[in-house]
């Protein structure tokens, strides 16, 4: 990247002194990442499908679960069913948004946009980093909206304001991890069926986490899956942040899951991305 600084005019002609700042310098990483993140966020905000999928559907789902199964699950669990459904729906919104983002990325690759951006003097890390930043911002925003709807339905924080921040941070961290995974998958297999299969798997996992019904309601043979899948860790952490209770154990689990997803996929993702450019 080149920065233009100081424009003193000599004889009325503007003179621009061009300081060749390395496009891959650390100094450029932040502004470039933020610029590209803003592009992605604007795109999502203006794409009705993304808004519907990450906000309208999860909110509708939350209200519906409360209306349809609220009393039954509350009777079974002993606490309001919302302390399961609000975290679950927030995580669901994060995952669905990442899937939509992957499809958008694929379309952009077909149109040649990332390749075009690659020819510009842009920090090399900012292209992928900005996707994670944009995911994080989007998930924080949708989680806040879902929380607002949940509060209207009767959801409350019993563990203080700091815990509320933790509550929002969990889907953000896990969502970014999942986005890294699903983008890698989306760029590795050109068949749309694979993304569809991941989407189906996510929908299935939605039914098998303690946010839907308490873990004790599941029959014994499936409980190991319910208790050990990544979404469960996210839901349990968020439940502990809102309802109170020991937070450390599920928090460590969800951080470990996210770290594994990001650590495992970062290098393949960077390589796939470069290949997808040409």
């Amino acid at each position: 990247m080149t920065t233009t600084t100081g424009t003193p005019t000599t004889q009325g002609i503007p003179v621009t002194t061009i300081v060749p700042a390395a496009e891959n310098s650390i100094r450029m990483l932040l502004p470039h990442t933020w610029l590209q993140s803003r592009r992605l966020l604007t795109r999502w905000r203006r794409d009705p499908m993304t808004v519907v999928q990450t906000l309208a559907y999860p909110v509708a789902m939350l209200v519906m679960l409360d209306v349809v199964l609220g009393r039954q699950v509350t009777a079974f669990a002993g606490h309001d069913a919302l302390y399961g459904t609000v975290p679950m729906v927030a995580v669901m919104s994060a995952l669905l948004g990442s899937l939509a983002g992957t499809i958008n990325l694929r379309r952009e690759c077909e149109a040649g946009l990332p390749g075009r951006l690659w020819t510009l003097p842009v920090h090399r890390a900012s292209a992928l980093l900005s996707r994670s930043v944009a995911e994080a911002v989007r998930i924080a925003a949708t989680t806040t909206v879902i929380l607002a709807v949940g509060t209207a339905l009767g959801f409350r924080f019993h563990a203080g304001a700091l815990a509320a921040l933790g509550f929002v941070a969990v889907p953000v961290i896990f969502g970014v991890g999942f986005a890294v995974l699903v983008t890698t998958i989306g760029l590795t297999w050109s068949n749309t069926g694979v993304v569809e299969a991941v989407s189906l798997l996510c929908t299935l996992l939605l039914f098998f986490n303690p946010g839907f019904v308490p873990a004790t309601a599941y029959p014994g043979w499936i409980r190991p899956l319910v208790e050990n899948q990544p979404m469960t860790a996210a839901v349990e952490t968020m439940q502990a942040f809102s309802l109170g209770g020991p937070v450390a154990e599920p928090l460590v689990r969800i951080l470990a899951w996210s770290a594994v997803l990001i650590g495992g996929c970062a290098i393949p993702l960077a390589r796939r991305y470069r290949r997808a450019l040409c």
């Binding site: 559907y57 519906m64 039954q72 079974f76 499809i103 189906l200 039914f207 098998f208 019904v213 309601a217």
Partner: protein, 260 residues
């Protein structure tokens, strides 16, 4: 010239295009997803909710038995969503325009897609019946009731497929259509008396729940399976299906009329 004439009859064209649809369904994996979908719905609804609903109803509701018609319905709706995906893919890749430029009657490509989808639908109903058996559903009223149940489920599936095909053709966006249809399918399914007994819904929601199409479909299917079938139970279902066909028929005429 006789060979040319026989190859260009609409029936032959329909058969060729149906075979094309079935071939791509086998290769593309949509035949497999049609088989898996009922299993997924069974696992997703029955396994988590069995204990909850049994306890809440005090053991009066046999949830597996209760849920099976909805599983069949969700299974056929899933194949309809696949049909929307296929139709949108055909539209966006220009296959439709290509066919429109050939001496093929306008209804043949649509009919062929629906026919191929009907095969998926049959598989989905069959798997749904097997899943239902596993979770405790039985055709106690005998084979006639079983045949009536399967035929009705299939008929609903075919009409939904036709509707989805038209929507897909109009939208020209395979992913968006699939996603846009998947959630209403889930919402209507869960907000219906196929999912929970009507009296378990809040008082204010009961009229909406009772009269929406998926509820009426499940009421009809359950009545057919139980053998205590009453003609007046069929009326709302038929009206909903006719309304859907009417809207879709009108749209289909608009779509196929807008050829080339």
């Amino acid at each position: 010239m006789t060979s040319l004439a026989s190859e260009s009859t609409p029936i032959r064209q329909w058969w060729v295009l149906t075979a094309r649809g079935l071939g791509s369904a086998l290769r593309g994996g949509s035949m497999l997803t049609a088989l898996i979908a009922p299993i997924v719905f069974t696992l997703g609804f029955y396994v988590p909710l069995h204990a909850v609903i049994t306890r809440f109803s005090g053991g009066t509701v046999e949830y597996g038995r209760f849920l099976m018609p909805l599983i069949a319905l969700q299974a056929v709706s899933f194949t309809a969503i696949t049909a929307a995906f296929v139709a949108a893919t055909d539209a966006v890749r220009g296959v439709d325009r290509r066919f429109a430029a050939m001496p093929i009657p306008a209804v043949v490509p649509v009919t062929a897609r629906v026919s191929a989808s009907t095969v998926r639908c049959v598989l989905a109903v069959a798997v749904a019946v097997v899943c239902g058996h596993v979770i405790g559903f039985r055709f106690d009223a005998g084979p006639t009731a079983a045949v009536a149940f399967c035929t009705a489920a299939l008929a609903i599936g075919v009409i939904l497929t036709l509707a989805a095909d038209v929507l897909g053709t109009l939208s020209r966006s395979p992913e968006a259509t699939t996603r846009a249809l998947a959630v209403p399918q889930l919402v209507l399914g869960m907000f219906s008396c196929g999912f929970l007994p009507l009296e378990q819904f809040p008082q204010w929601a009961q009229p909406i729940v009772r009269n929406q199409p998926v509820s009426q479909f499940t009421i009809t299917l359950r009545a057919l399976a139980d053998g205590n079938f009453d003609a007046h139970l069929l009326v709302p279902t038929l009206l909903w299906l006719c309304a859907l066909l009417g809207i879709v028929g009108w749209m289909a005429v608009r779509v196929t009329g807008r050829r080339a």
